[in-house]
């Protein structure tokens, strides 16, 4: 729990915090995750503004009304609207740094989605880049976002800034 060397004085101690929760997804997220279990990205529409949220939390954050009732399937392709290069390792990260944490606006959705971009040199990561989800083999799908390992670049021209400027 302390510094490696048994020789020198103790200068640093490690204080682990471990919190075990039982997480209940609720109706809205459950609907989304069951969709993910079938390889679909499902959203719901606000009945006031018509915006489609993926994954919907069950309500429009602007209008405070329930979304739905129907679900809307959106594409697993989208536009990278923002990113951050992560260079600092951390416990429990499933990806080795450096990597790009990205915010993606999926085609057909009005909300962004956080994931990881791979199969792309970090110096080429940019706003407006077109990307698509990479799924694990269908036999291994569960009701988890781990069904998508990462996003990768699409061989398409960048999306114009105006098409995603509201989602930065």
């Amino acid at each position: 729990m302390s510094d490696e060397s048994a020789e020198g004085p103790v200068e640093i101690i490690q204080c682990p915090v471990e919190l075990d929760y039982t997480y209940t997804a609720g109706q809205a997220t459950t609907r989304f995750l069951r969709g993910v279990g079938e390889g679909k990205l499902l959203g719901q529409r606000c009945i006031v503004c018509g915006k489609i949220y993926v994954a919907s939390r069950g309500a429009c954050p602007i209008h405070g009304v329930p979304t739905g009732p129907e679900t809307v399937e959106v594409s697993d392709k989208g536009t990278l609207v923002s990113f951050s290069i992560v260079r600092i390792p951390s416990e429990n990260l499933s990806v080795d740094p450096p990597f790009a944490a990205i915010s993606v606006l999926l085609d057909g959705s009005d909300s962004t989605f956080m994931h990881v971009l791979s199969d792309c040199p970090l110096e080429e990561v940019r706003m407006g880049m077109r990307v698509e989800a990479v799924w694990i083999p269908k036999e291994e799908w569960t009701t988890s976002l781990k069904n998508i390992t990462h996003f990768r670049p699409l061989d398409e021209p960048d999306a114009p800034y105006d098409s995603y400027k509201e989602h930065l």
């Binding site: 490690q14 204080c15 915090v17 929760y21 109706q27 329930p66 009732p69 679900t71 416990e91 429990n92």
Partner: protein, 157 residues
């Protein structure tokens, strides 16, 4: 049109375990550093305060005068329980996997008490003023958990 305030379909909500884990690295400074280094060596030390009394666990500064402290004092690994609380059903991360007491223990040679666990077997074996002795781990790393717990000691031990 369906009533949008009602869910279209009620599905059984998904439930999953979620573990939140993060580890702080705390820089302990020279005085507490000596306390942790001593623990690694299987010893307990305190620090001498401005009024000559001994504080354990040690701090860098006198709590009353704010004077910087530096004189370390060797202490015994036995002491007296000054107050305690019985834990009937320990939780996973607590120091022992069976019922135990959290106690304030004033070590021999110290004037302030240290918080630790006492493995007394049953609540009826606990009392304020009882003597206890540290049970050290064989593998020590410089952490308060180098003392597995305290256990009741013979009178005058």
């Amino acid at each position: 049109m369906p009533d949008p305030t009602q869910p279209t379909e009620t599905t059984e909500a998904l439930v999953a375990p979620h573990s939140l884990r993060y580890t702080y690295k705390r820089s302990v400074g020279p005085i507490m550093g000596k306390f942790f280094t001593a623990l690694r060596e299987g010893r307990l030390v305190g620090v001498r305060r401005s009024d000559g009394s001994v504080m354990c666990p040690p701090k860098e500064y006198d709590p009353e005068t704010a004077a910087a402290l530096s004189e370390m004092v060797d202490l015994g690994d036995s002491g007296v329980v000054t107050t305690w609380a019985w834990v009937k059903t320990p939780r996973a991360k607590q120091p022992l996997d069976h019922a135990f007491a959290y106690a304030l223990i004033q070590l021999d040679g110290a004037d302030t008490p240290l918080l630790h666990a006492v493995d007394a077997g049953s609540e009826s074996h606990m009392s304020t003023g009882m003597r206890v002795k540290a049970r050290w781990k064989d593998e020590r790393v410089g952490h308060i958990t180098d003392i597995a717990c305290f256990e009741p000691a013979e009178e005058g031990a």
